[in-house]
Symmetry: C2
Subunit: 210 residues, 2 copies
């Protein structure tokens, strides 16, 4: 019926799959075993048809007249996202924001672990709460290769962000979560996700004043 011809899944759909996964986790915690596309969509803040379309990109998991098995659907989405295995991540730039991200526990329970942090001045590590080692930048390439790290969080000042990014890419990093407020130029096969909190605020402020 459905040829499984590895269709390219849009980026937006992937993003929503992550959201569905979190909603499903909450449902599971509450002991709910089955959920309709309508209920799950509502929890995720989307329309039911969009949810179904999103799932249709990589399979059919529901039971008509009943809905989706929460556990099974979770498993399938996690599988598709490749979230099943824990991914090591490094953080570069231990300034205010970097330090903040290091002390943030939120990543761990979501399958990511920041295994080390790097900074041009590793000594300025004052905060005792963080458990990760802060290492000098000169050891960055070696560390990445040795530990086969593929993802990095970049929280260095804008002025050096591109230079550091180049170094990351050269050492084998394939995905960068970029907090520096500039657009990074990287090879096509390297993925960059930008997070700019000031822009998010600016965005809000625009829409609330109409």
């Amino acid at each position: 019926m459905k040829k499984t011809g590895r269709l390219v899944i849009p980026r937006k759909t992937i993003y929503r799959l992550s959201i569905y996964l979190r909603c499903l986790a909450r449902l599971k915690e509450n002991g709910i075993g089955t959920v309709s596309s309508e209920a799950l969509a509502k929890a995720a803040g989307v329309k039911p048809t969009q949810l179904r379309k999103d799932l249709a990109y990589f399979g059919t998991f529901g039971t008509r007249g009943l809905g989706y098995d929460v556990t099974e659907l979770s498993k399938k989405i996690a599988e598709e996202l490749g979230t099943s295995s824990l991914q090591p991540v490094i953080l570069v730039g231990v300034g205010n924001l970097g330090l903040a991200l290091l002390s943030y526990r939120g990543f761990e329970k979501e399958g990511f672990e920041i295994i080390a942090a790097f900074d041009a001045e590793p000594r300025r590590q004052r905060d005792k709460k963080i458990k990760q080692p802060v290492i000098g930048m000169e050891q960055l390439p070696e560390f990445i290769r040795e530990h086969n790290v593929k993802m990095a969080i970049l929280s260095v000042p804008a002025a050096v962000a591109q230079t550091v990014a180049n170094s990351l890419v050269e050492s084998g990093i394939m995905g960068i979560l970029n907090f520096a407020p500039i657009v990074l130029t990287v090879p096509e096969d390297v993925m960059v996700n930008n997070v700019n909190l000031a822009i998010e605020l600016e965005n809000l402020s625009y829409f609330i004043q109409g």
Copy 2:
């Protein structure tokens, strides 16, 4: 040619306008007075036509054959975004992430100031580096009304996020930058921007294993 009919500007365009604004600021710092759509688009990571289309939503600012005046275009975009005036913001939930955001200086120079933080247990304010007062949640509604605050950063645990959001909205908050990993339900005229770092990482990890 001249249709000043207050066209609705798409959300994506608004987001990009913020990016253009930052690129322009950098150009200005470097003493560049004029820029073509091609150059600015490249700096912003978009296509030239998209840049021009984005600008066309609210006016025509360029000179054909020459490009855009950096200072003038900055001013026009800032005006359109309403970024000209400084916006007071409060932060709710001084946990790991909240504390991190408080100590992050990045907002100030972008026109936003976190004027106060709120937490159920305001006492646990250990960090001396933050300058904002940490106030008990019971004073939240009064503070919002008194200071006429319209925007809030929400960094409380998921379990209480909706409850807190309700309280914020009731007190007059119109825009929420939500870090809690749930989808908030709010009235239509209230704007929510979600930031979920775990999802961003998950997203990266998907595309790099292709």
